[in-house]
């Protein structure tokens, strides 16, 4: 029994790592520009699909294909900000959500056109022979997912706390006018935030696709889960988003293993609702009072 639960926990952390990266991307964009980017999941799909197309389709070596795929997704993230979000002046927040939905449909349509409807997979990075400890098994790829996520989260943390660029973005999210007054180029900071967020999404996609596979429409559910995780952790709190992602992955995996796989998403969302009812600003979000 305990072995089984431990096994579910391992699966949950692997799954949760992906959610954590998507949620982190959500939080970064939300902090920088108040936009809930529902196209976040498409970054995951684009990263994975283009890595597959470059490695299997074009015959590039896997590391090079992954590097190019991540860069490509990063460019898409920049373009999203530059050509879809930035030109919409005076738009309402719901309006920006609709724009990102439009972007998400657009990118899905593009992927459908380029790569078709088939479910596709990346090769495992270091073989498919599971590691074993007693009754516990773990795919080496899961270690890649967990390790990669840990490194990326640490990197993002350092970026925001130790670099001038990171601090400049933080300044923009606190107060755009004040940031501009001290000489920060707010427009460029927003671009960097979208690029970083796309990079995280693409990395999540590349890391997890050997296990979960991907298809042109795989981004939607991941995007929703990322949003759920970001809200669970407290919108706008990057490390809260990471914790929310891991928690959501664990909940889902335990619910699927112990209760029913058909209801796993429902159970995860019911717990999310209960958390919100008890703590309306998420687990690690600060309560804010509305200014009238």
């Amino acid at each position: 029994m305990w072995d089984q639960i431990l096994q579910f926990l391992l699966t949950g952390i692997t799954l949760g790592s992906t959610y954590a990266l998507v949620a982190l991307g959500f939080a970064i964009i939300y902090n920088a520009s108040d936009v809930v980017n529902l196209a976040q999941g498409e970054f995951v799909m684009l990263g994975a699909m283009s890595a597959i197309a470059l490695s299997a389709g074009q015959g590039l070596p896997l590391p090079l294909a992954i590097l190019l795929a991540v860069l490509l997704t990063l460019v898409v993230g920049l373009m999203l900000q530059r050509f879809a979000i930035a030109p919409a002046k005076g738009i309402t927040v719901v309006g920006t959500i609709i724009i990102t939905i439009g972007a998400s449909i657009f990118l899905r349509g593009l992927a459908l056109l380029l790569w078709g409807k088939d479910i596709q997979a990346l090769p495992h990075f270091s073989g498919e022979t599971p590691l074993r400890w007693g009754d516990l098994t773990l795919l080496p790829q899961s270690l890649w997912v967990m390790g990669g996520t840990a490194l990326l989260v640490l990197g993002v943390q350092l970026f925001f706390n130790r670099t001038l660029l990171g601090k400049a973005i933080l300044a923009c999210s606190c107060n755009k006018t004040a940031a501009q007054l001290v000489g920060i180029n707010v427009g460029r900071m927003l671009l960097v935030a979208y690029g970083l967020s796309a990079l995280l999404g693409a990395m999540a996609g590349v890391l997890v696709t050997p296990i979960t596979y991907t298809s042109y429409d795989a981004g939607i559910m991941l995007g929703l889960k990322g949003f759920a995780a970001a809200v669970l952790g407290g919108m706008g709190n990057p490390m809260g988003a990471v914790a929310g992602g891991l928690l959501l992955g664990l909940l889902e995996s335990l619910a699927a293993g112990l209760i029913s796989s058909g209801y796993k998403d429902a159970i995860a969302f019911i717990i999310l609702l209960l958390v919100l009812f008890l703590r309306p600003s998420g687990l690690f979000g600060r309560a804010v009072s509305e200014r009238v």
Partner: protein, 340 residues
């Protein structure tokens, strides 16, 4: 009379269309679908446009209405009208139960909670196969009949849906100009201030949430009888998103905007079919372009353009059913109230 001029225009339009184009596919089939979407969008606009509360799970209430009718009429042989009533009770009852805890949330948290609710209901529809038929859905739903007059053709369904929409629009316009409507507007503007002025904000929000859910439940029952078939796919997350898009695209806070948004989003995919593989791509691009260039939605954007063309020489009152004044928009927007 002047106040309801738009409504009379809508009456005339809805009567004229089938007379001018009898039996036309785009009027009786796609048109009926647009009418159904318009009913849903006008209902959702009560919540989103008037009271400023976002819901990303509205399709759930649509589904509850539809499945109540489908299950009760096919499995238990209940009279369709009784089943429709039961659907309303279920949709309204569930809305009432979740309204207070859910509407206590603000902004993105509210969006997430309603989205989660929608997903939960969808999963229940798929998983409780014994009752709902699971992913395959339920077929063979009998049609409705009114005093022995069976609603059994596309043209008749057009008539019934058009009449329903007209009644609903009349109600929505009157609500907006009533005391309760102004209370909702005050909540939209600044909830705390509305509370300070003595408006029971929780009760008002609950009431409008239930009203929107009842509209969706009614639309669901009509949909089930019209299609004679329901499956969970008609009530999933995408449908909720589509409904929100209709409300925002047309111009939030305007009943006419909601109707326009519903018409556009119903006809656009029909027209884009000719582009085959490019259909999805173009649909996404159009959605983005409209919001980028008309950020206040189509009705609001066109009203703005019109006002600018008229110049500052003739400052007129904004139309009654028009969008919120520009200056209000970003601050009073449904999801912007939770300052980071």
């Amino acid at each position: 009379m002047k106040r309801l001029r738009g409504w009379w225009l809508l009456v005339a339009l809805l009567i004229a269309l089938p007379l001018l184009f009898p039996g036309n596919y785009y009027v009786t089939v796609v048109g009926a679908s647009a009418l159904l979407h318009a009913i849903l969008a006008v209902g959702l606009n009560l919540l989103m446009g008037y009271a400023g509360q976002i819901s990303l799970g509205h399709a759930a209430f649509f589904g509850l209405g539809a499945y109540s009718s489908a299950i009760l009429t096919t499995r238990y042989g209940v009279n369709p009208w009784l089943a429709l009533g039961a659907g309303l009770v279920l949709a309204g009852g569930v809305a009432y139960l979740i309204a207070r805890p859910v509407l206590r949330l603000k902004g993105h948290y509210l969006a997430m909670a309603t989205l989660g609710f929608g997903i939960i209901v969808h999963i229940l529809l798929v998983q409780t196969g014994g009752l709902t038929g699971g992913p395959d859905g339920i077929g063979g739903i009998p049609t409705l009949s009114l005093f022995g007059w069976a609603i059994d053709s596309d043209a008749r369904w057009y008539g019934v849906l058009a009449a329903t929409l007209l009644i609903l629009v009349l109600g929505a316009l009157n609500l907006m100009d009533s005391r309760s409507g102004r209370a909702l507007g005050a909540i939209h503007g600044a909830e705390v201030a509305a509370g300070m002025m003595g408006i029971d904000t929780a009760a008002a929000k609950t009431a409008v949430f239930v009203l929107a859910a009842l509209t969706a439940g009614l639309a669901g029952s009509l949909f089930a009888h019209q299609q004679a078939f329901v499956s969970p796919d008609s009530f999933n997350f995408f449908v909720s998103i589509e409904l929100v898009t209709m409300v925002v695209l047309g111009g939030i806070a305007s009943t006419w905007g909601a109707i326009l948004g519903a018409v556009i989003l119903t006809f656009l995919p029909e027209l884009l079919v000719v582009f085959e593989d490019y259909e999805v791509l173009i649909f996404g691009a159009i959605l983005m372009l409209i919001m980028i260039f008309l950020p206040q939605g189509i009705v609001g954007g066109l009203a703005d353009l019109w006002a600018r063309r008229q110049g500052a020489a003739a400052p007129t009152d904004p139309p009654k059913a028009g969008p919120a004044p520009r200056g209000l928009a970003p601050a009073s927007d449904p999801v912007s109230q939770d300052a980071a």
